[in-house]
């Protein structure tokens, strides 16, 4: 198959970027999107040009490294799929494919398609955990957890932290990411003790880092490669409201 790529090229965080066309010829439909970029880069290197910088690692859809925006959609248009699991058979012959980095104030561009997502780590550091020191745990079966709760917690915990929700949202809001972590922890009895401080600290950290807030358009849910649901945001908003009120009363 043959394609024209319009790739965002930007030397570093300070310089200006622009779209640059790259021709891709004679690629098998079973090639993955990342491997197609590998082929383009091999060609560029041999011609003495700068290869396209793009983040990727596990190439099996679980590490969350590879998020980029393809034809305006985070991870491309195939539902429930990361870029690294996207294959060229999802495109048509001679398609023009635009590829650009996640665009969000909180995720500055490092180079070409690579962005700095360390803001997500900061949000987690603000409270995305259950405070238990190593060595102090009771027997794992001492706290039974209803299967439905455990399953719902697992649905939320499946988030890979790729940033597709931020990339998709017109407000660059990370609330799908944030609410997934809050839901995962607060659905489990172990996580209930700290639910109030957790939601307050994480939401405040999010605001501080320059992310936007949710205005209920739900694009994030459509683009999430792990199909994390927006009902988590609803739960988070209820928790945040309640925790804020309780904070004032006390």
């Amino acid at each position: 198959m043959n394609f024209v790529l319009m790739v965002w090229r930007q030397r570093n965080a300070k310089s200006k970027g622009r779209f640059v066309p790259h021709l891709v010829t004679d690629i098998s439909a079973d090639t993955s999107f990342m491997e197609m970029l590998d082929v383009v880069n091999e060609g560029l290197i041999l011609e003495g040009e700068e290869p396209i910088a793009f983040d990727n690692d596990c190439r099996e859809g679980i590490c969350g490294t590879c998020c980029m925006v393809i034809n305006g959609r985070a991870h491309g248009s195939q539902h429930g799929t990361t870029v690294c699991q996207l294959h060229m058979r999802a495109f048509r012959e001679n398609d023009v494919i635009t590829i650009e980095p996640i665009r969000a104030k909180a995720f500055p561009v490092v180079k070409d398609l690579v962005v700095d997502r360390s803001a997500f780590d900061k949000v987690i550091a603000a409270g995305g955990y259950i405070s238990v020191d190593t060595g102090s745990a009771p027997d794992a079966n001492a706290v039974p957890i209803p299967k439905d709760d455990a399953d719902l917690a697992m649905d939320a915990a499946a988030c890979i932290g790729c940033g597709a929700c931020v990339a998709t949202c017109k407000n660059a809001s990370p609330m799908l990411f944030l609410s997934a972590k809050l839901a995962h922890l607060s659905l489990l009895p172990q996580g209930k003790a700290e639910w109030r401080t957790r939601v307050l600290n994480m939401v405040r950290e999010m605001d501080k880092l320059g992310f936007g807030a949710c205005t209920n358009e739900r694009e994030c849910e459509i683009q999430c490669p792990k199909e994390v649901k927006v009902h988590n945001i609803g739960r988070m908003n209820r928790q945040f409201l309640l925790a804020s009120l309780l904070e004032r009363i006390r």
Binding site: D38, G80, D121, A125, S131, A140, P144, P146, A150, Q190
Partner: protein, 637 residues
Amino acid sequence: MALDARIPSGPLDQKWDRCRSELKLVNPANKRKYTVICVGTGLAGASASASLAELGYNVLTFCLQDSPRRAHSIAAQGGINAAKNYANDGDSIFRLFYDTVKGGDYRSREGNVFRLAQLSVNIIDHCAAQGVPFARDYGGTLVTRSFGGAQVSRTFYARGQTGQQLLLGAYSAMMRQVHEGRVKLFPRREMLDIVLVDGRARGIIVRNLITGQLESYSADAVVLATGGYSNVFYLSTNAMSSNASAIWRAHKRGAYFANPCFTQIHPTCIPVSGHCQSKLTLMSESLRNDGRVWVPKDPADKREPSQIPEDKRCYYLEEKYPSFGNLVPRDVASRNAKEQCDAGRGVGGSGFAVYLDFRDAIARNGVENIEDNYGNLFQMYERITAEDPYNVPMRIYPAPHYTMGGLWVDYHLMSAVPGLFVLGEANFSDHGANRLGASALMQGLADGYFVIPYTVGGYFAGNEFGKVDTSLSAFKGAAAEAEEKTSRLLAINGKRTVADFHRELGMLMWDYCGMSRDEAGLRLALRKIPEIREEFWKNVTVAGAPGEFNQNLERAGRVADFLELAELMVRDALHRKESCGGHFRVESQTEEGEALRDDENYSYAAAWEYTGVDSEPVPHKETLQFENIKLAQRSYK
């Protein structure tokens, strides 16, 4: 130097207690005076960072990914073993210990493995307390499943994402310590060297991958938890950035490399589909709980799998190994798949695949049950192959997956370099010549949560530490060497890409040091590798500049190291003239084609000492003592 593994004497089940109670302690108020560098943030590195910081040590944690949460432990699918005996099926700490030593084909240390089995129980408790969403029954208790090499159900899991959930648990615990200020995090840093002062590990040199600048950090001890080296084969189930550089460079500074030829080829991976292929994807071993492995009896039978009737199918694992069936250990399953394909019975376009069929399990348990247990794996398979495994059997083939070999460590997980500790897949200690499924997660977390917090303390309390900072000449010298290597790579300006060399090396290793090895092939590889290495340093082309974000340069450095490590792997494979576990020497097999060990001559770990790029390494032998297990020919029939 004689190798002292520092395994405590006394009864097996008291060794670890004894070790812990004899280790000197650091006063709680004094812990903050010590700094530990931790490289790598997978299960072992993140859990070590978290638990060391919880004790009060200052921890500097480095990873090459943009976030520590992306380390490749995240891709582990199936589960984690623990001798909880929740299933009431006769499991015990001794049985897990026994299965692991037997699964490793009697090439691991009894003391280490027993400790691992003991700690497995604590890991599940701790992870459940952290909020890891393990699979549960309707009554709210934890459920388990079976994995290869075991006849009990002791594998805990979180759907097909157990590694992800355990890693997020360890990552979260570490991020809590970042918030407390006890862990300082350095993402997007690649370790280029360790720095020794007065013979002890006191720091590291890293490249800041964003700015391209070299940075030096000093500490009182260095912990490496940088994973395995399967990417030496080019195509493997490892992540693209997984590499051997940290352990290889530590090896060059004096750490011994043990059993480098012990590599694991995982039986159930999605087969290679084309020449652009950059990596292979694993399908969890847990699938062998319900999936049945088969090939057509007649090599000429090219019908669609659904058209092949029952009596024309060969369920070769069930037929050959009736008591373990599809759940034989990985090395056995891989070799049998290769044997079937070599005999012409392979399926798919290339003929290098066998079927993994869920038809019977779906008929027995229903689609919903299968979806509940393996949903994400089926989806992953469908994404990659565009085939629906609910209706068409999966096609699978073995691929390089895990490396049992690694830096030699003693019972305290300290390498031959004092103050340099090595955890998880990066060390060699617990899996012998073959790792059983669901044991890697167990080992990484045992090392990080429950071993290193004790042994690092013992090291600090038992030694005097002078102040060291990065202005010392040892740091300056190491940084200058690293800088020089980078400049050399960028100056070659040859005609072949880094990936091209990597592919050539990988194919050579797969052909001659892969699933089966023989003297002639290994000798050929030993001749070829220095040739490829020489050409690499004359004819590679690396794009870009040193002082900027440069992924091609990162990869060039890693491939340069693989080109040296590969030679050591081949040497080790050549010297070990027995078959054991994943190391299958064609010359040494039973009449039935199983791996034939030679306990009289090879019941030891080979720890290699580095002597220079083009000079022969020196082997040191650590004899393995078996006091509690009787050595026997492994049988899974």
